[in-house]
């Protein structure tokens, strides 16, 4: 079979020609390499592996020497142009290429060549350098050095677009700190960039917008100086560009305005500009290229954490528009990811947005899909069902759009999978929908649980986040989750090497067992085992310790039998709690630990004595018991938790109470608490009230005004002793309310 490429040299052959003594052969080979790699990532990689970059960098270096020795000009320029273009192409959008170019020492040579008299050489070199500066691997530019700043200014002042463009991309890449931003402002760079905005070409305007955004980022001082005495005129040129005819310019202008908005409370806050930005970004979604891919990310940066903007966006039908784009299918993964994250931001705070999202319809052809979900909720689907109630109808509608999300959970792209989980996490913050059982179904749970084994850690963590919300399901049973192996998987993940995976898995477990029935809790505990749980309490990472303690708190809450967990295997867990509380590195650990002890102490005498012993293990040491430390903490939740624990230990119905009270008094704890009668935090005062019912005191009683919407103080006093005990018993079961992600 004749070789089709008999005229085409093999890559290795080409490479050897690069070192040929004959200039003709050499330059032809160089040009051939360049033409093979441009646009072709696969070829870039294979030539890279063969060592092409050092060879080309060598040619560049040699040609510079020829320039200085004034050798054959045309030929030399040709070599310079071709080698610079080749190096630039290696570096274009290809980090391994950038690294290779830097490693080959070509960077300083390229910089020197910017001063070359030949235009084509300068163009090629400037482009190559710009490719390098588009990468994270670019060498850091030190703006604070005078000569560097002067060099940068000379670049920006150049007539040539390629050179001024290089100057702008250096700023965009390297300017990071407030100090650097200020230095750039002081050197008059912003004025120069602004003039490029108004009088420059398309590419100069775009480059300028990016650089300005970089200099403005998180720097209200520079922004107000820029917008300064001309009262918003420079800003108005950016605002005008948001309506430019070119989509990329519109996008970059919007991104710049958003940076300004987010950094400074004084600018661009009126409803007009907010609405305008929303509309422009939503319209940019229609662009089929990279601009449309990036638009949803810009949208997210505009609305994230901002309820007023989310409301405006809802009114502008943002959710419908995003949904319309997802429905179209075959999305570029970047765009898919961006839209899912934008939907996540939209639904992060407002119930109205979540309701809107869940009420979206799908295409008619998708009408069969949702019935899978309905079947698992126990609704019979022999024929196409007519929803009998509005709730069923709602469920059916919701399942349409949840199918879309479920599809994204199984996408081949990791970023898309993670974004789908984050979107789900936002939507599942809806307590109303959780209670109605929207999410505990096969369509969502099965793919979600599969993501627990995802190769990407960020996907795992995101899936755990969504799971944490979904398992807080008050009305429907959690059996689907157990059946598809979710619970066992969570426990496996609690053993992960990654601390973020461990702590998030524990968070999900904590929510899973919140007010769950005893059987479920026993199942979790026996799978988890006391030794694993106690080692997690003693985990090196504080966030893991905190979640492990919170899990214990929720496990032992409610029924006395469950309290036995902490005594299993010679009190492994109880011991771990005690040791961890001694050296708690942050308040949250103390809070969860104390509430766990509080719940243990709500059991029987044996339990209370065990807790007592734990609290006093350090007595007699020069170290105070951590109890006093916690009572004196700045954190009101920690003080509250500690007081409640003591309430339980001194509960009047228990025979050992007076004895324990005496010990506490001797340890100075009672007097410490007496000092807290006027604590600024209501919750603390309420808890203290219950200690002093033993030795009632008018002053302390009056210091408390109504608690937690349950009863007012005066009414409470009139209750019988028995009634008071009942209410007391309820209040001392301090279960952890699930913290929503």
């Amino acid at each position: 079979m004749p070789s089709a490429t008999v005229n085409k040299p093999r890559p290795s052959e080409l490479l050897s020609r690069l070192t040929s003594a004959e200039p003709e052969v050499k330059v032809r080979a160089l040009r051939e390499v360049k033409n093979q790699i441009i646009g072709n990532r696969t070829k870039k990689l294979s030539f890279l592996k063969l060592g092409a970059v050092p060879a080309v960098a060598g040619i560049l270096a040699d040609s510079i020497d020829d320039v200085t020795e004034n050798n054959n000009c045309n030929n030399t320029n040709n070599f310079l142009v071709q080698s610079a273009a080749a190096l630039g192409s290696f570096a274009c959008g290809f980090d391994a290429g950038v690294q290779a170019v830097l490693d080959a020492g070509a960077f300083p040579n390229l910089l020197r060549l910017l001063a070359n008299p030949n235009e084509k050489v300068v163009d090629a070199v400037a482009r190559a350098l710009r490719m390098i500066y588009q990468s994270k691997l670019a060498p850091k530019y030190d703006f604070l050095q005078q000569k560097n700043m002067e060099f940068l200014i000379s670049l920006l002042n150049s007539e040539k677009e390629t050179v001024s463009g290089l100057g702008a991309s250096i700023i965009t890449r390297s300017c990071e700190t407030n100090l650097e931003q200020k230095a750039l402002f002081d050197a008059g760079i912003l004025r120069k960039l602004n003039s490029l905005l108004e009088g420059g070409s398309l590419s100069q305007r775009d480059a300028s917008l990016e650089s300005l955004a970089t200099v403005f980022r998180n720097n209200p001082e520079v922004i107000s100086k820029f917008a300064g005495p001309e009262i918003g005129r420079p800003l108005s040129s950016i605002i005008d560009l948001a309506k430019d005819r070119y989509p990329r310019t519109r996008l970059l202008a919007c991104m710049c305005l958003i940076v300004i908005r987010n950094a400074s409370p004084h600018f661009l806050q009126d409803i007009g500009i907010k609405t305008k930005l929303i509309h422009i970004l939503l319209e940019l979604l229609d662009d089929p290229g990279q601009v449309g891919d990036e638009a949803p990310f810009a949208f997210s940066s505009l609305i994230a954490q901002k309820e007023d903007l989310q409301k405006l966006a809802l009114e502008a039908n943002a959710i419908d528009k995003f949904h319309h784009h997802i429905k179209k299918g075959s999305l570029h993964p970047r765009r898919y990811e961006g839209i899912l994250l934008a939907l996540a931001d939209m639904c992060s705070k407002l119930e109205s947005c979540r309701t809107k999202f869940l009420s979206l319809q799908a295409k008619p052809s998708q009408s069969l899909e949702p019935f899978k979900a309905l079947a698992s909720n126990g609704i019979h689907t022999a024929t196409k069902p007519k929803p009998s109630s509005s709730r069923d109808q709602e469920l059916m509608l919701a399942s349409f759009v949840l199918n879309l999300v479920a599809d994204a959970l199984t996408d081949y792209n990791a970023g898309v999978r993670a974004a789908a989980c984050i979107c789900l996490k936002s939507v599942t913050r809806s307590i109303q929908k959780l209670s109605a059982g929207y999410f505990m179904n096969e369509t969502i749970v099965i793919p979600l649980v599969q993501l627990f084994l995802d190769p990407s850690t960020s996907v795992q963590v995101a899936a755990l986040g969504a799971t944490s919300n979904i398992v807080v399901d008050f009305t429907t049973s959690k059996s689907i989750f157990v059946q598809c192996g979710g619970m066992k998987q969570l426990i496996q993940l609690a053993k992960s090497m990654e601390s973020s995976v461990r702590s998030n898995a524990l968070w999900a477990l904590k929510n899973f067992v919140f007010q769950a029935d005893n059987r479920l809790k026993e199942g979790v505990f026996s799978e988890l085992t006391a030794s694993l749980l106690s080692s997690l309490i003693r985990d090196p990472e504080p966030s893991v310790q905190e979640q492990a303690l919170a899990l214990v708190r929720n496990l032992v809450d409610g029924c006395i039998n469950l309290i036995e967990f902490v005594f299993a295997e010679d009190g492994l867990i109880l011991g771990a709690i005690g040791r961890q509380l001694q050296c708690a590195s942050k308040a949250e650990i103390g809070i969860q630990g104390m509430y766990a002890l509080c719940n243990v102490a709500s059991g029987n005498e044996f339990h209370r004595e065990a807790v007592m012993q734990l609290l006093f293990t350090q007595m007699g040491d020069k170290n105070q018991s951590f109890v006093v430390k916690f009572l004196q903490s700045n954190d009101s939740q920690l003080r509250t938790a500690t007081v409640w624990t003591i309430v339980n230990l001194t509960c009047p119905s228990s025979p050992g109470a007076p004895c324990r009270l005496e010990k506490l008094r001797n340890a100075g704890i009672v007097s410490q608490i007496k000092n807290m009668v006027n604590d600024p935090c209501v919750d603390v005062k309420v808890a203290i009230f219950f200690i002093f019912r033993i030795s009632p005191c008018e002053n302390s009683a009056r210091a408390i005004y109504g608690f937690r919407g349950q009863l007012s103080m005066s009414v409470f006093i009139h209750y019988s002793e028995y009634k008071r005990q009942e209410i007391l018993k309820q209040l001392v079961f301090q279960s952890s309310s699930p913290l929503f992600f």
């Binding site: 079979m1 004749p2 089709a4 490429t5 040009r31 360049k34 033409n35 441009i38 646009g39 072709n40 990532r41 696969t42 273009a85 630039g88 192409s89 274009c92 959008g93 090629a124 482009r127 677009e161 070409s201 398309l202 590419s203 075959s330 570029h332």
Partner: protein, 200 residues
């Protein structure tokens, strides 16, 4: 009006006409006429089926164009394959498809469908009569040529479409709108642009 004409000549690439027009009317072109020659050479190469030559010329003009335009690069590679098949070089075409086109599909999943369409040309004995036969039309070459032209213009910060056709479209639309509201002298034949009185 002169600017419109110049804009048209320059965007479409009629260098000599543009030069002549510049001399006669004194209208300045909004782009360096030297670059037009380079751009036209590329366009002509594609239209003649010399895709490899076109690629080399584009890369000499501005290496960034193909490096940052995966869709255009794919279409040029696709055209190369089509030309190989047209010339009956089936072995070479197969190898080219494997070495050059398949990686594009790997790098970018959205190209897979079109890739498959093009490669399916190889499966047919009589290519001019197969379902994807239109790929062999000259119109396909023109499509690719036009895409390259637009990309070069954009890289030079010039608009890729001439203003004149859009203006004519607007004229027709405006006249259609006006038809329902008034009687007025209108242009019915764009090629001679005579104003015709409204029919009574």
């Amino acid at each position: 009006m002169n600017k419109l004409v110049m804009n048209f000549l320059v965007t479409e690439g009629y260098v000599e006409a543009a030069e002549k027009f510049q001399m006669e009317s004194g209208t300045e072109p909004d782009i360096d006429l030297a670059t037009i020659t380079d751009r036209m050479a590329v366009k002509k190469a594609v239209q003649s089926g010399n895709v490899e030559d076109a690629i080399e010329k584009v890369n000499d003009l501005n290496p960034e164009i193909l490096d940052t335009n995966p869709q255009l690069f794919f279409h040029l590679q696709q055209q190369r394959l089509i030309e190989l098949i047209r010339n009956g070089k089936i072995e070479e075409a197969l190898e080219f498809a494997q070495e050059e086109l398949a990686p594009r599909g790997e790098e970018n999943q959205s190209f897979l469908e079109e890739l498959e369409r093009t490669v399916s040309l190889l499966a047919f004995e009589d290519v001019s009569n197969c379902p994807v036969g239109e790929l062999l039309d000259i119109s396909q070459r023109l499509k690719t040529a036009s895409e390259v032209n637009a990309a070069i213009l954009t890289s030079q910060s010039h608009e890729k479409d001439p203003k004149l056709p859009s203006l004519l479209k607007m004229l027709i639309w405006a006249q259609n709108q006006l038809n329902e509201k008034a009687a007025y002298p209108r242009i019915n034949d764009l090629s001679n642009a005579t104003l015709e009185d409204p029919t009574v």
